[in-house]
Amino acid sequence: MSMAGPQRPTARQRAVADRTMKTLRRRRVVNGIMTGVIGLAAVITTLPLLFILFHLVREGSSAVSVDFFTRMPKPPGEAGGGMANAIVGSLIIIGVACGIGLPIGVGAGLYLAEFKGTRIANAVRFLADVLNGLPSIVLGIFAWQFLVKPLGHFSALAGGVALAAMMIPMITRTTEEMVRLVPTSLKEAAMALGYSRARTAMTVVLRTATAGIVTGVLVSVARIAGETAPLLFTALGNQFWSLRLDQPIAALPLQIFVYSNSPYDDWRQLAWAGSLVLIAVVFIISVAARFATRSRVGAGSHD
């Protein structure tokens, strides 16, 4: 080819270049606007959280002290009460709920991803979404009917089951979404190497989707940690120390609920402090879980 220098643009080329420049300008403007809109959305989203946290800290921080974590609740008018039994009780109930809800939720999510498209899977997915929309009080009443009334007493176990029933649809949904995102090529490669379906799922698929599944689990743990209604008719609450699964047990949201409903200032302060501690507990669980499952391979960033 002759290496002549840059040619002069023809009229047609000039017209095309003009059009491109005009649309480019418009596209750049649109880009700028949308960037601004998205940035604005991000800021607006974090605002309420900041407001609420600020409000919480202002109201509750004065009552958060070592006493709060180590003392038992005291009647109104007596200073120095704490929520030690409620903190431990909440942890126990959440533990029971996770023990029941995690395997069922993750298992169901795996099923939905493995058998995607079949009629049963569609039905299960649909019903899980419906279950998600139930008010927690209905689940509490249900757990009361099946686990408290026949046994004749309230129990921490019933509370854990009610909360597990709330967790399952959420975890199912998010697990399914995350497992679906694992590239098929990974699964095929594992199977080509001779892995059974079970082993592929356990070691390859779940590991890749771990970060996403953990997010889903943590969001559902966060939700159930603050739920009062299902516990009212199952765990009932307890102003004394108890670790037993077959007896009523104290829980942070129950205690917060009772205290915030009272006329006494010292109890109301404890309610705010309790809310602060509740969020802190969820925060700690989240950090610990993310740390434990930090992936060495980024999910989805390969192709």
Partner: protein
């Protein structure tokens, strides 16, 4: 092990440890005899939220004094009635007496109503410029809550309060959105003083309010009133006092305007006492009591116990506590703005408590 199985094991581990960890003491409420001696939970009760603070204090003091732990949780009067009927708790608590129909459905036989303390509803309001202790009468209050009196400077209010600077603004009525004993007492009173209220609305823990918005719980109502100028509402006395709300003086049956205090509530119980028949079951209302100094919107709150409980050890623990509460509990009640029972009534109640005998409950 990968991460998820690790998490599962951890979660299961917590649950397992919790189940195995020995409670500090005996086996809890399963063996009544051991429970009293050990430090497990001896009795469980649930119900009304109004008396929850005083019950909390009593049970805490009782545990310190006698070593018997009684767990009480407020899940609402209706909840208390339901749980005691199903025998999932050892005793219930209610701000409103059980109906005959409810009593017939209790699975353990006949139920006794034991009044414990007195409470009162006050009329609270938030109108800048209007003095505290506004004077109101029963019929006027009824018409306000019926929606017939709509403005603060209505002539009927003005004539009762000459000289008060009543603004020409709308009244917003705030009532309870959740069912409660507080509503029961209030609607009971309004039914007594206003035939129209009795006819149109009636009395109950939950009623169809002709006007106004609903807030949840006493504190919801109190909070609403504090936040919104122009509101008028009814709340439990303790809430009004603890939140420094202004409340009205109400004309009682004797024609005097009285403020709600422990003395006037006491006077209501005392003046109603002679009218109580000897064989009463204590499902009585003391609204609009006849005494000169009686506060008209006062009421008992009750503990619900079986007359023939199936467990003798638990029965003894319960009756011991009830006797203690009727005598040693009054000081604590007063300190928390709950009215203790008149001594004569407390004595009569002791005889009633003696009649609790374990039998072969159904």
């Amino acid at each position: 092990m990968t991460a998820i199985p690790r998490l599962l094991v951890a979660a299961a581990g917590i649950g397992f440890l919790a189940a195995c960890a020995p409670d500090s003491g005996s086996k809890g409420s399963t063996t009544g005899a051991a429970a009293g001696a050990g430090s497990g939970i001896a009795l469980t009760g649930a119900g009304a939220s109004f008396p929850q603070p005083i019950y909390n204090k009593w049970f805490s003091d009782y545990a310190a004094a006698k070593g018997v732990k009684i767990n009480y949780q407020s899940i609402g009067s209706g909840g208390g009635v339901r749980q005691i009927s199903e025998q999932t708790v050892d005793f219930g608590a209610s701000d409103a007496p059980m109906s005959d129909e409810e009593m017939s459905r209790a699975k353990g036989g006949p139920i006794l109503h034991i009044p414990t303390v007195l409470g009162a509803d006050v009329i609270t309001y938030n109108v800048p410029g209007v003095p505290a202790q506004l004077k109101l009468t029963g019929p006027v209050i009824a018409d306000i809550f019926l929606g017939k009196i709509k403005k603060w400077n209505d002539p009927r209010i003005a004539t009762l309060n000459p000289g008060a600077a009543l603004p020409n603004s709308d009244m917003l009525v705030v009532h309870r959105s959740d069912g409660s004993g507080t509503t029961f007492i209030f609607s009971d009173y309004l039914s007594a003083v206003s035939p129209e209220w009795a006819r149109v609305v009636g009395k109950g823990k939950e009623v169809k309010w002709p006007t106004g918005i609903g807030a949840k719980g006493n504190e919801g109502v109190a909070g609403q009133v504090k936040q919104t100028p122009g509101t008028i509402a009814y709340v439990e006395l303790a809430y009004a006092k603890q939140n420094n709300l202004a409340y009205a003086s109400i004309q009682n049956a004797a024609g005097n305007f009285v403020q709600p205090t422990l003395e006037t509530i006491y006077a209501a119980a005392e003046s109603a006492a002679p009218n109580i028949p000897a064989n009463t079951d204590y499902r009585i209302s003391i609204v609009n009591a006849p005494g000169a100094n009686a506060y008209p919107i006062a009421s008992f709150t009750w503990l619900l116990v079986y007359k023939n409980p199936s467990d003798p050890a638990k029965a003894r623990l319960l009756t011991d506590f009830l006797r203690w509460a009727l005598t040693d509990g009054s000081a604590a009640a007063r300190a928390l703005d709950f009215g203790p029972l008149p001594p004569a009534m407390a004595e009569r109640l002791k005889a009633r408590i003696d009649s609790i005998a374990p039998g072969s409950g159904t």
